[in-house]
């Protein structure tokens, strides 16, 4: 394998990893705040991809601009789902929320099949296949834009969590809901906003994934496996961890595709995941549970 090809795959790996990070960020945020594993997370991403595809086909709305449409739509939907369903289950039994979101994923998959058929779809814009060359390395435009948009959105999320009152309330709730309530945080409202924020991060990833990869209703099963693995590797609830793990997965896939065989990509990544979990069960950036201290 030539050095150029290796460099090419590393560039692709970083850019793809950025998009993975964006889609995984909502999952880890929701887990951090609610201890809810949202199995429907990837189905929501695919739903957002379909919405963006539909907006592009019917209204000619650019998929990157459609992010401004899907994010608020899914924010509201997320808040509704939290209010109507998850609020009643949170704090009761973890398996129950997993079952509910699992069922939700299947409902979304069925809905997509009914509305958009089970055919492969891809969001093809006139600039979809453009690329430019830097030092002999081809950088596909859509992948660069996706990576950049993902970084901007992740940076925004980072600032919201770190610098705003809402972010402080979310972090307080993540650490200890009861203490947060004691100091005046409206835990229920904060939890709802955090869930809605997590879902809208998923939605923001939809148009990007839809431009990068073909999708059909059951693709979300492929994605949720990747996303859960990213979140576990990074450390449950850790945004930084999810980002690092996502880039590791992106690199593992792209580099193994050219260095060995595509079959090796998941093997290498999951081998790494298991290795990390054996040595460091809380994941790369996860923290020890208070109960075990």
């Amino acid at each position: 394998m030539s050095g150029e090809l290796l460099a090419q795959s590393i560039v692709l790996g970083f850019l793809t990893g950025g998009v993975y990070a964006l889609t995984a960020s909502g999952l880890t945020l929701i887990f951090g705040v609610m201890r809810v594993v949202n199995v429907a997370h990837a189905a929501m991403i695919v739903m957002s991809a379909y919405l963006s595809w539909w907006l592009y086909r019917t209204l000619g709305l650019d998929p990157l601009l459609s992010i401004f449409v899907v994010v608020p739509v899914f924010f509201v939907l997320g808040a509704l789902v939290h209010r109507v369903i998850l609020r009643r289950l949170a704090g009761r039994d973890l398996t129950l929320t997993v079952l509910v979101t699992f069922g939700f994923a299947i409902i979304l998959e069925g809905l997509q099949g009914t509305l958009f058929s089970s055919n492969f779809q891809a969001i093809n814009t006139p600039y979809s296949l453009n690329a430019f060359e830097v030092l002999g390395i081809f950088v596909p435009l859509v992948r660069l834009l996706s990576g950049a948009v993902a970084l901007v959105l992740l940076g925004g999320l980072y600032l919201v969590l770190g610098r705003t009152d809402l972010g402080r309330a979310i972090r307080a709730t993540t650490q200890d809901p009861r203490s947060a309530a004691l100091v005046g945080v409206n835990v229920e409202r904060v939890t709802m906003l955090a869930f809605a924020l997590g879902v809208s991060m998923a939605a923001a990833g939809g148009p990007l994934l839809g431009m990068l990869f073909a999708f059909y209703p059951s693709t979300h099963w492929l994605w949720i496996g990747k996303l859960l693995a990213i979140v576990v590797l990074g450390g449950l609830g850790s945004l930084r961890g999810a980002f690092v793990a996502a880039v590791v997965l992106g690199l593992a896939e792209q580099v193994m595709n050219v260095a060995a065989s595509p079959d090796w990509a998941p093997l290498v990544f999951y081998g790494f995941l298991f290795g990390v979990l054996i040595v460091r069960p809380r994941g790369l950036f996860g923290t020890l549970g208070r109960e075990s201290l």
Partner: protein, 444 residues
Amino acid sequence: MVDSSQSMVSPGVRRFLVGLVASVIVVAGCSGSASPSPVASAAPPASAPASAAESSAPSAEPSAACVIPPCDQPIVIGVSQALTGDKSDPGTAIEHGYQVWVKEINDAGGLLGRKVELKEYDNQSLADTAVSQIERLVTVDKVDLLVGPFSSALTIPTSAIAEKYKMAFVEGAGGAPGVFSRQFHYVFFVQPAVAAKQADPFVNFIVSLPADQRPKSAAYPQQDDPFVSATEDGAQATLEAAGIKTVYKQVYPPTQTDFASIAAAVKSSGADIVLGGTIFGDAVGQVQAYASINYQPKAVYFTSGPSTVGAFKQALGDKVNGIFTGDGWIEASKATGNVNFVAEYHAMFPNEKEIPGEAAEGYSVGQVLLAAVTGAQSLDNTKIADWLHANKVDTVQGPIGWDELGRPNGSFLLEQYSNGQLNVVAPSDDPNKAADPAYPKPNW
């Protein structure tokens, strides 16, 4: 940040989540959904019983008065089809072919004077689901006849069930060696030739090029699929024997959606031509990835994908031009009965501007069943299989006959897109040939 030293994830919760991730990985690894199989029946509800008097109405098909009771019951044909999942495009296309045939035969008075009904399950492109559905169709639903799924990957396991119950398994999309290597008596592949010969017309064309134009090297990026590997291995052996070096060969899983780095590796190998071992979505993914890194091979051949014309063009637009594929049928084919099939298809599916090749394969399966049941004058599957081993049937893919293992003995057509149209470009003596092969292909 969200994580902090105070974050609490109890060990029990963590153990549960790790277990959950592991099980999701397993589910995802099986490339499909874990949801229960939805059951669908494509056929309209059994209409008024076809009496002997009704079925003798004038018709274009060789229907007859009902000879096999119960005459008031439809003849039920069982099928487990890939209607969702990664094979859903071609799977649905075959299904439409079956439906056109069923409508046509019922309009003409039925099969041996009885109405025909499809009993259909969606196998979600999963082999184990397909196997249990075929088992159910035979033992619980007690269907009279079986037809096959898309594609070899699903035909190989399901045909074993049909063989076990001595049910004729007429199928339009399972031509890999694995279908025939078990020496079954009841399987019949309804295409002009087996998978290993699918790329022959393309390979012959490449080898026939004058030495100064002939490509020096070829790349074989291919999906892990029995049909694909049969076609690719056959082509690779012949091209290597002709001195065309293999500079890239890589097998990717059916779940592969990202072809960027594979395309980069193919480009880096400097291959003059690409023989993509594809099913559908991966053909689209490869073209997009090649185009986006400006890799311009002299010729690109895909084993499957381009013949699903409408969906392929919708996904790729004018990037389809110059792409080769091998198939047994095109919409403009002059084969017997094709005009009727095309008209009927467009009437039933007015939203589909172009008929996918797989639909013709499904329709041909119906034509073969009609000929065999009529020829054997029986629903006894052993008699049907014996009849098929001894006879040829005219289909919209041309006349097809079978050897003792159910392998067809004809040859494929070489097809190529130009101006958004899929044309037959070889062999030169074929009545459907509409253009000469374009080589080298235009840039993406």
